[in-house]
């Protein structure tokens, strides 16, 4: 069954795009034909995270009739396909809605899962992205403003008939000043799908233009996202254990030429 899943957050800066990009790669790794559509125009950094910036043909060109959708699909890490949006979906909706629907239909012909990276907030672009999807994954940090905005997003999505799969809690810090998983689940009234720890490796990977699950597949973040991907498609995932050797033993091994 073809699935169109929007990844939305409400509040900006919670790591939604990072989750979308890595989840896309994870699903692709599991053998699903996955395509990520970047609808976050204001903060269009999906391509940066995937190391695919500066693509000339975008969804905008397709909907303007200047290019075919096939020309706007780019191959990303792990076989993931990416379509950069290039322009506000709302702007397109007004003028070229038929073509947008056609483009999505064409995309879905060769795609198992279409992930839409929705813009933050509840402006028209965000609503257009939400309305285009059948299912939604909410992303939030365990902080009050982020959860408050996620709740608004959830309410709007419900009203638009979008099925909320659950919430991903990003940048979990085990800090008592933040809301607990149980509290977040109670407030949002949706299941928690994954808890991603606060991990400086994520920023480092982004700086290299590489998704963390490619750059550091043993990290807790990578394992959590892979598990999320596996759960979404009903697959089993065996987490990759991190290397438990200490720095000194690694150094010694290095010096002795054993590595």
């Amino acid at each position: 069954m073809k699935r169109v899943i929007v990844v939305a957050s409400g509040k900006g800066g919670v790591g939604k795009t990072t989750i979308t990009a890595n989840l896309g790669v994870a699903l692709s790794t599991f053998g699903e034909e996955t395509l990520v559509l970047d609808a976050d125009v204001a903060m269009a950094n999906l391509e940066l995270i995937l190391g695919m910036e500066g693509k000339s043909i975008t969804l905008h060109d397709v909907l303007s009739g200047d290019a075919s959708i096939e020309d706007a699909i780019y191959e990303g890490p792990g076989g993931l396909k990416v379509v950069p949006a290039g322009i506000s979906l709302e702007g397109l909706r007004k003028i070229k809605l038929d073509r947008l629907e056609e483009a999505l239909e064409t995309i879905l012909q060769d795609t198992d899962i279409l992930l839409i990276d929705a813009p933050a907030g509840l402006e028209k672009d965000a609503l257009a992205s939400i309305a285009a999807a059948q299912e939604m994954i909410l992303v939030t940090t365990p902080e009050v403003p982020s959860i408050s905005d996620a709740l608004k997003t959830k309410i709007i999505a419900n009203k638009l008939g979008v099925d909320i799969i659950g919430v991903v809690i990003n940048r979990e810090l085990h800090d008592k000043t933040f809301l607990t998983i149980e509290e977040i689940e109670t407030i949002l009234e949706v299941p928690v799908l994954a808890v991603i720890p606060d991990d400086p490796e994520v920023s480092r990977a982004s700086a290299f233009g590489e998704p963390i699950i490619v750059k550091n597949p043993k990290s807790p973040t990578s394992n959590a996202i892979m598990q999320l991907g596996a759960d979404l498609i009903g697959e089993k995932y065996q987490p990759i254990e991190p290397d438990k050797k200490g720095v000194i033993s690694k150094l010694v091994e290095g010096l002795l030429g054993r590595r």
């Binding site: 709302e90 007004k94 809605l97 509840l122 028209k124 609503l127 257009a128 309305a131 009050v144 959860i147 408050s148 709740l151 608004k152 309410i155 709007i156 009203k159 638009l160 799969i165 659950g166 809690i169 979990e172 085990h174 809301l179 607990t180 998983i181 149980e182 509290e183 109670t186 407030i187 009234e189 299941p191 928690v192 799908l193 994954a194 808890v195 720890p197 807790p220 394992n223 959590a224 598990q227 999320l228 759960d231 979404l232």
Partner: protein, 156 residues
């Protein structure tokens, strides 16, 4: 699906078993989180969709627009009478046809010989301008909607 996948998650799951169920409204109050009320939700969704229109809404808009246009046209000198018909199509986006018939007070023979057709062209242009202004005023938030209307003016 539906359960946290790392250690912190399983710790919390254990806590969940031991602790009392949390009252959602008390929790929301504690953190100052508010639900969105129905009106706000509808307003937001309308702002995205441009508002959903039923047949009654369409008829009301047609009538209002018709009266506004009629009133404005009567502000033009030498208009003896006018009939305005507004037909809206709201299937996907609002568009429409506006047909206007104007009864114009004819000038004397000499003036007619001097170039009445020019006056009629000017009048037609003036009427179209007035109609476009009324459309823009009526759909203030979406002035570009004016391009979606066909305006036909017949002058007798």
């Amino acid at each position: 699906m539906g359960s946290p996948k790392n250690d912190s998650a399983s710790n919390d799951a254990e806590t969940k078993v031991q602790s009392e169920p949390i009252d959602r409204s008390k929790l929301m109050e504690k953190y100052g989180i508010k639900e969105m009320n129905e009106d706000d939700v509808d307003e937001l969704i309308d702002s995205y969709s441009g508002g959903s229109l039923n047949e009654d809404d369409v008829e009301k808009i047609e009538l209002t627009l018709m009266n506004k246009i009629k009133k404005s046209i009567f502000g033009i000198p030498k208009i003896k009478g006018t009939e305005v018909m507004v037909f809206l199509d709201s299937a996907s986006e609002i568009s429409g046809d506006i047909n206007i018939i104007i009864e114009y007070e004819r000038k004397g023979l000499l003036s007619r010989l001097m170039g009445e057709s020019k006056d009629i062209d000017n009048l037609r242009r003036q009427v179209i301008n007035i109609v476009q202004i009324e459309i823009k005023k009526s759909f203030r938030k979406f002035p570009e909607i004016v391009d979606k209307f066909n305006i036909n003016v017949e002058i007798n």
